[in-house]
Symmetry: C2
Subunit: 232 residues, 2 copies
C-alpha cells in the first residue's frame, strides 16, 4: 500500500525554501552576534552558501522584508524567519533510544536553536533506565504515553535500533504525536497527517561513495569506458 506522504498543496512556502530557512536563520544569528545591523542578499547568500537570487526569492515568500538599496535588517529578519518556522513557541521533544546517538542528541546543546525543549528520555534497556543523561532521568519506554501527555510532547525523536523503530513510532502516533524525526534506517509506516523526517547516516555515506567512485572512474581513464563492465 503506497500511502501518499503528507504533501498537501502548500499554499504558502515551497518545501525547498522551508528547508533553507534554518540555514539563513543560523547565518543571520551569527551576523547578529557580531553586531551586524543590515546585510545584503549577496552577502547573506555567500555565508549561507546559496545563490543570491535564490535567497531573495526565498525571502520574498515570507513578505517584503528588505529595503532596496540597503538590504535586510538582521534583527527583523531573524524574528520573521523564527516566527515562520514556529520557533517563537516552545516545542517539547521526547527522545526514545538512549544509546550513543540518543545521548548525543540529548546533549546537543540547546538542541540547535532555542525553541526546542527536551521533555523526556526513554529507553527499553533496564541498564539505561534510571541513569541521568543531560540532566534528565531516563525513563522506561512504558512511560511513553505518560510523558507525551504530561509534558505536552509534540515532536518525537526515534534513535532506537531499526527493529524497535516502527513500534515506537506507532506508540508516538497513538499518543498524539504528529511530528517524528527518525534516525533508524527503516521506512516508517504512519497514518496520513503525521509528518516523518528521516536522517540516515549510512545513506549519506553511500551517496558520497557513489560520487567518489564516479570521480575515480573519470580520473584514470578519460572518457566513458563501458568496456569490461559486463558480468556474466
Amino acid at each position: 500500500m503506497t500511502s501518499r506522504p503528507p504533501r498537501p498543496r502548500e499554499r504558502g512556502i515551497p518545501e525547498a525554501t522551508v528547508a533553507r530557512l534554518p540555514v539563513y536563520l543560523r547565518a543571520l544569528q551569527a551576523l547578529q552576534d557580531r553586531g551586524t545591523l543590515t546585510v545584503s542578499s549577496e552577502h547573506l547568500a555567500s555565508i549561507a552558501g546559496v545563490n543570491s537570487a535564490k535567497l531573495r526569492k526565498d525571502l520574498s515568500h515570507l513578505g517584503s522584508y528588505g529595503t532596496r538599496g540597503v538590504g535586510y535588517e538582521v534583527e527583523y529578519l531573524v524574528y520573521q524567519i523564527s516566527r515562520e518556522l514556529g520557533l517563537t513557541q516552545d516545542w517539547s521533544v521526547a527522545i526514545v533510544g538512549i544509546g550513543n546517538l540518543g545521548r548525543a542528541l540529548a546533549n546537543y546543546g540547546g538542541f540547535g536553536t532555542r525553541g526546542f525543549r527536551i521533555a523526556g528520555l526513554l529507553d527499553a534497556d533496564p541498564a539505561v533506565v534510571g541513569k541521568t543523561v543531560a540532566s534528565l532521568d531516563v525513563r522506561h519506554i512504558d512511560n511513553l504515553e505518560d510523558v507525551v501527555r504530561s509534558k505536552g510532547v509534540s515532536i518525537g525523536v526515534i534513535a532506537t535500533p531499526s527493529t524497535s523503530a516502527q513500534g515506537v513510532a506507532s506508540r508516538f502516533v497513538e499518543a498524539g504525536v504528529t511530528s517524528i524525526l527518525n534516525f533508524a534506517p527503516v521506512v516508517l509506516n504512519v497514518p496520513e497527517g503525521v509528518d516523518v523526517r528521516k536522517v540516515d547516516l549510512s545513506i549519506e555515506l553511500q551517496i558520497l561513495a557513489f560520487h567518489a567512485q564516479r570521480r575515480a572512474d573519470g580520473d584514470s581513464g578519460r572518457g566513458v569506458d563501458r568496456a569490461g563492465l559486463e558480468l556474466t
Copy 2:
C-alpha cells in the same frame, strides 16, 4: 556535437535517483535476509516508501535488470546497486571530533552497510586522545595527515564543534580527501571537486516545527499566537 541517439545506459544517473538507491538497497537486503528470491516493483516500492513507477524508472537507469511478468531477482539487484554505489570496494573513513556524536558514529555498527571501514578517530581534546572508542585508539588531530595517508582515507567525517569544522575540512582537503560528511552546523568552504554532504539535526527539527505549526493553524482554525499557549 555528434549525434548520439542510441545510448541506453550512460554514466549519468540522476541525483535524485542516486539518493534513493541506498534505500532500495536496504529494502532488498531485508528481503534477502528473509529468503525472498524475487520481488515486484510494486512490492519493493511499498517497502521503500516510494511510488512504483519511480522505482522502475530509477532502476532502469542502471540497466534492464528486471523480468517482465516476474519482477526483479533480489540477489542480482543487490549486487548491481552495490556496484553502482561503489560498495563493492572498501572506503576508509576518518572521524574527527569524538564527542557524543563522534562516539555514536564510531559505534554505528558496521557503519550502515558493508563497504565502509573506520580507519581512524581524531580529536583535539587531550582528555579524549588516547581513549579507546569502538576498538580504536583516539589519536590527536595533529595526526590527521598521517592517518589519511597511511590508511588511505577517502572519506572524512566532521563531528566537531562548529568553530573547528572549517579548519578540519581544510586539512582534510589539503591531505587529499575529496569526500566530506559534515555534522557541524556550518557551511563549509571547499575547493571545486570536493564533495561535501551535510547532516544537520537542528535543521530537521525546525522543518518539523514549521509543518507542525502549519497543521496547528489549519486544525484549530485559529492562528497560533503566543497567547494561545497551553500552559495549564
